[in-house]
């Protein structure tokens, strides 16, 4: 069980704020940390890793990582950390990156097999693709058999197909190694697929805490669909108005009446709800 109660004054892009977080994370839990950029997610992860200082207490399975008297360095916390930019040791091969952490060759073989990297073990990390690098980074983070695995937007730099592949790897490794995992992510599908608990930070405070289903499914009552999008344009066609909305990679048109059209502003984020049809998936 990870328990933390920390406080740190931050200077964000939106001015000063206070990162003030009380949190308990159960063993083997997969926690997703979401929130706008600048809300303190990465800083929270770095404080947990011992890379940044903060006031307060952190303990893991009864072992004190930080209190008023002492603060363990990152070397002593037995954690794994996956960085957004991989942060692999560029002077080493794939295998050497893993062996640098721990000389356990059997574990290296097992991890590389699990992530389909065995063929690449003698390659320099600089010659790998983004997806391959992040898999190496994930394997490296597990070489110490950490109790706590921290991941800072590990898949955000990858294309959607590679993301899906790596999400499977992450989930498989999380289960096999029995780690308590905390992952910063913005991607709702990723969070839904991987996490059993989601926390949303805003201005350094936890504003939502629940299961992925509770937090991410936005439909209410009899609504079948509720999609968030950006209002790109409002076109007048005879007596009606048509709103052009970007939802993800799709552009859709929605008919508005005059009152609605007047109340909306181009550029604003809108919620598109519908319930009166039965969709088909192909």
């Amino acid at each position: 069980m990870l328990e933390l109660n920390i406080n740190k004054a931050l200077k964000g892009s939106t001015g000063k704020m206070n990162l003030d977080v009380q949190l308990s994370v159960k063993e083997n839990e997969f926690l997703a940390l979401s929130g706008e950029s600048g809300s303190g997610k990465t800083t929270l992860l770095r404080i947990l890793a011992g890379l940044e200082e903060a006031e307060g207490n952190i303990s893991f399975d009864g072992e004190i990582w930080q209190d008023a008297q002492k603060r363990l360095g990152p070397q002593k916390r037995n954690i794994g950390f996956v960085f957004q930019d991989y942060a692999l040791f560029e002077n080493m091969t794939v295998e050497q990156n893993l062996l640098f952490v721990n000389k356990d060759k059997t574990l290296v073989k097992h991890l590389l097999e699990m992530t389909h990297l065995s063929e690449l073990q003698d390659r320099r990390t600089t010659s790998l693709s983004g997806g391959q690098r992040q898999r190496v980074s994930l394997c490296r983070a597990l070489m110490n058999r950490p109790k706590l695995l921290l991941m800072d937007e590990p898949l955000s730099a990858l294309d959607p197909q590679m993301r899906t592949k790596l999400q499977h790897d992450i989930l498989a490794l999380h289960k096999e190694f029995g780690t308590t995992t905390i992952m910063v992510s913005h991607d709702p599908s990723e969070i839904y697929r991987l996490a059993n608990r989601v926390i949303k930070l805003e201005h350094g405070k936890i504003i939502e805490d629940g299961t992925a289903k509770e937090l991410l499914l936005k439909t209410k009552g009899s609504q079948k669909f509720s999609l968030q999008g950006e209002l790109l344009d409002i076109i007048q066609a005879d007596v009606i108005h048509i709103a052009v909305v970007a939802i993800g990679q799709q552009i859709v048109e929605i008919v508005l009446d005059e009152k609605e059209a007047l109340s909306l502003k181009i550029g604003q984020t809108v919620q598109v709800n519908t319930k009166a049809f039965a969709p088909s998936i192909s």
């Binding site: 890793a49 890379l51 360095g73 990152p74 070397q75 002593k76 916390r77 954690i79 794994g80 950390f81 960085f83 930019d85 942060a87 692999l88 040791f89 560029e90 002077n91 640098f100 952490v101 721990n102 320099r124 600089t126 010659s127 490296r140 070489m143 110490n144």
Partner: protein, 229 residues
């Protein structure tokens, strides 16, 4: 004087001086460059200004103060004379000390900018892997700044070979002891032996060019290797 009868003693002395200075400075500059690259201390600009002083000061100023500090009349000079029985000026030891001051920034600055260019996350990944700062420095930081490392070593070496003012003030011109190549050229010019001065100078130019060319070719190769990889 023809090429065959050229006394190579001053060159050998220059190389010996430059080699020893480079070795000492590498040991001294490494922790300082590392500290400067990692610290968030407010005193960093002060330390950086001190480190860079020898670049802007006239060599005569450095030479004068080193002479003043190390002479038998000074506390340091007196201590070395009394304890070890050695004098620190007008001999090779004095030259090494003076050269270390003079060439210090040329070792610190490339190393510091090399360390600063390393992805901080890479170093943090090493700490998280349980490695100490020293292990991280040796196994992660240094191997990833090879071009900067080579630049620091070669430029320090070349700069020490090329020094003149400080050497002349602290060492004088004792053949076999303190008469390095640059001082020898000065003396040839003074006695109007332009042929010898030409030969010595030409050797210096060719040697310096080859060394710098080597550094740039190596760095280009390294950059390409990292870039295309």
């Amino acid at each position: 004087m023809d090429f065959a009868s050229l006394d190579l003693g001053p060159f050998l002395l220059s190389f010996k001086l430059a080699g020893i200075t480079t070795l000492i400075l590498f040991m001294l500059a490494l922790p300082i460059a590392w500290w400067l690259s990692q610290t968030k201390c407010k005193c960093k600009p002060i330390v950086e200004a001190f480190v860079s002083l020898p670049i802007v000061l006239p060599p005569s100023v450095i030479g004068f103060y080193i002479l003043y500090a190390l002479s038998q009349n000074s506390v340091i000079g007196e201590f070395f004379e009394a304890t070890f029985g050695i004098s620190l000026v007008f001999n090779f030891t004095g030259l090494v000390i003076a050269s270390c001051f003079y060439s210090f920034p040329f070792m610190v600055q490339p190393l510091q900018s090399g360390f600063e260019s390393i992805n901080k996350n890479m170093l943090e990944a090493s700490y998280i892997a349980g490695k100490t700062v020293l292990q991280t420095l040796v196994y992660v930081a240094l191997p990833n700044i090879k071009p900067a490392l080579l630049t620091a070593v070669i430029v320090t070496f070349a700069h020490t070979v090329g020094e003149f003012g400080v050497v002349l003030m602290v060492g004088g011109s004792i053949p076999g002891e303190t008469k390095v190549a640059s001082v020898a050229i000065y003396e040839f010019v003074e006695i109007l032996d332009y042929d010898a001065a030409h030969m010595y100078s030409a050797i210096m130019i060719v040697m310096s060019f080859v060394v710098l060319l080597g550094v740039y070719v190596f760095n280009r190769h390294q950059t390409h290797r990292l870039g295309t990889a």
